[in-house]
């Protein structure tokens, strides 16, 4: 399997539930739940709190207090959670005492996947029949387009969790294609509920960022700070209002610190984009990295600082221009058996 370098947290989680039939019996899990509840009440008694209203957060705080641990990995520290979170949901045995399987698609090997495809195709045929009926009665087809932008389909891992069995990449893509076909039909509103089971809301990006308010220094001039980084360079920038457009880096003017035109262009990029070139003063400190990395770090820091001076719409424009994202590109490591990160040793025939 290919190892992805760029991963989100959803992709990194390993799905234990789909690995095989149950390793824990039902009776065992029930016993664990009883023990957990008893232990919760004992813990509440120990801490002097009310056993009835003892939430999971209180349990975590109590355990962290009673068993302090200096281990770095949070997953290695002492843990007390409800058994359904610790022992992942796994499939019960699929056949009865006489050996006959319960599900009619058991012998396909991927019963839940094929039954899901079967159901989805049934819904598709339903929608098409409804459409044909409407056409036969000469009624207009409803053409409200479902807003596909604010929602995304389930990822492969989430689908595996739902079905409790392994889904291959090919199968997953076929399922998504079928869902898209279903959602694209004009009369898909009938099966809206079914489609919503497999789609998730994606929040608008901007709402996840908090913009800090302006601060004022002794003379009453408004200023704001920002931090930026690029490769190994770290920079902090302080942008003052009512200025002449002077920029100071590590105590030196930019003409002395950045003799190259490209770096100076990068420093002025956020100001030029917002049209505020002569209006702000900037004082920044930067360390680490090379010439271009320091320029990129200061650019990010000044863009972050300018967010507090500007309306929300312009912050969204800055984000879409790529001024507010941290550049994740770093130097690739050298691999053993190769001369550099990509270059291989000279091939000699003998």
């Amino acid at each position: 399997t290919l190892r992805l370098i760029c991963t989100t947290t959803a992709v990194q989680r390993k799905n234990v539930g789909a690995s095989g039939p149950e390793k824990y019996t039902e009776a065992f899990i029930k016993k664990q739940i009883e023990e957990f509840n008893l232990g919760k009440r004992h813990l509440a008694n120990m801490m002097g709190e009310d056993p009835e209203t003892f939430t999971q957060e209180d349990i975590d705080r109590a355990i962290a207090y009673l068993f302090p641990s200096g281990l770095f990995d949070k997953r290695a520290r002492p843990l007390m959670k409800h058994p359904t979170e610790i022992f992942p949901e796994q499939r019960k045995i699929q056949w009865g005492e006489d050996g006959r399987p319960f599900h009619f698609l058991f012998y396909t090997g991927k019963q839940s996947y094929y039954s899901l495809m079967h159901e989805t195709y049934e819904k598709l045929l339903n929608v098409q029949k409804h459409q044909d009926q409407l056409i036969a009665q000469d009624l207009p087809l409803q053409k409200e387009k479902r807003n596909l932008v604010g929602s995304r389909w389930l990822t492969k891992i989430e689908l595996e969790e739902m079905l409790l069995e392994k889904v291959s990449d090919d199968d997953y893509s076929r399922f998504i294609q079928l869902l898209q076909k279903l959602a694209a039909l004009p009369c898909a509103d009938i099966e809206e509920k079914y489609i919503q089971k497999f789609s998730k809301e994606v929040p608008v990006q901007l709402q996840q960022v908090i913009i800090e308010p302006l601060q004022h220094d002794e003379r009453g001039v408004a200023f704001s700070t920002g931090e930026g980084k690029r490769k190994t360079a770290r920079a902090t920038a302080v942008v003052y209002d009512n200025g002449t457009g002077k920029i100071t880096v590590n105590g030196m003017d930019i003409l002395h610190y950045f003799p190259v035109l490209q770096d100076r262009e990068q420093l002025l990029f956020p100001f030029q984009f917002l049209g505020r070139i002569g209006k702000h003063d900037m004082v920044c400190t930067v360390s680490g990295g090379g010439r271009s990395a320091q320029a990129g770090a200061i650019r990010l820091a000044s863009a972050k600082a300018l967010r507090s001076f500007v309306t929300e719409k312009e912050v969204e424009f800055m984000r879409q221009a790529g001024l507010l994202t941290v550049d994740p590109r770093v130097k690739e490591r050298k691999k053993p058996g190769q001369e550099g990160s990509r270059r291989k040793f000279t091939w000699k025939k003998r």
Binding site: T1, L2, Q205, F269, Q272, L300
Partner: protein
């Protein structure tokens, strides 16, 4: 464990940044359906950081930066950039000389903007059709094949640079030679235009093998 060869540090969800100021100042009514969908998509998806060679100022041009990157040797961007600016200056000077010497009625036809000359010259150098080697039945044939936009631009720039690096008098500097070639290409003359015509003629000659192409 297999590592993919062409990967990037960005999630595939990330979209390309749009740097030009004008595209953000258009009011909502002027946008078409596609542009509206694009805008909504951009509001939801994360966006990559703008690279250091891209800027919203009037002076940054994607074609010029591509050309500077192709001219660069061993990562010496400073030198490549200075050569490029010297070339554009030289073009401007030559055109101004011509402008001041020309009579009144011809003054309007002389183009002084070096960026316009660069773009027009590149356009004139781009081949329309290319040749590719296809092996069939043991023999390799040169089959005429349509080229994508990127490939056309790349070939035009590559021919320009190789022409300037090799076929010049020993003492001429790169900016001077580039400036001469660009002005010749602007007027549809010069060795690069000849090369393009030769390629077109070869493609026309091998027209019989065009059915070997399967894509």
């Amino acid at each position: 464990r297999i590592m993919p060869v062409r990967w990037s540090r960005y999630n595939p969800n990330y979209l390309e940044p749009e740097v030009k100021k004008e595209s953000y100042q258009k009011p909502l009514e002027e946008l078409t359906e596609e542009e509206r969908e694009q805008m909504e998509l951009k509001a939801v998806r994360p966006i990559k950081a703008a690279p250091p060679s891209l800027s919203s100022s009037v002076f940054s041009d994607p074609m010029i930066s591509k050309f500077t990157n192709m001219m660069m040797k061993s990562g010496n961007k400073v030198l490549a950039r200075s050569l490029m600016s010297q070339t554009l200056e030289a073009i401007k000077r030559k055109q101004l000389e011509k402008y001041h010497k020309a009579p009144e009625n011809e003054k309007e036809t002389i183009e002084c903007n070096p960026y316009v000359i660069f773009h027009q010259a590149l356009k004139n150098c781009q081949p329309i059709i290319g040749l590719s080697n296809i092996t069939k039945g043991g023999k390799t044939y040169q089959v005429p094949v349509p080229l994508t936009d990127n490939r056309k631009r790349f070939l035009a720039m590559k021919w320009l640079i190789t022409e300037c690096r090799e076929n010049k008098h020993r003492r001429t500097l790169m900016p001077e030679k580039l400036c001469q070639e660009l002005l010749l290409a602007f007027n549809n003359e010069g060795p690069i235009i000849k090369k393009k015509h030769v390629l077109h003629k070869m493609a026309e000659a091998n027209r019989a093998y065009a059915h070997f192409r399967w894509w």
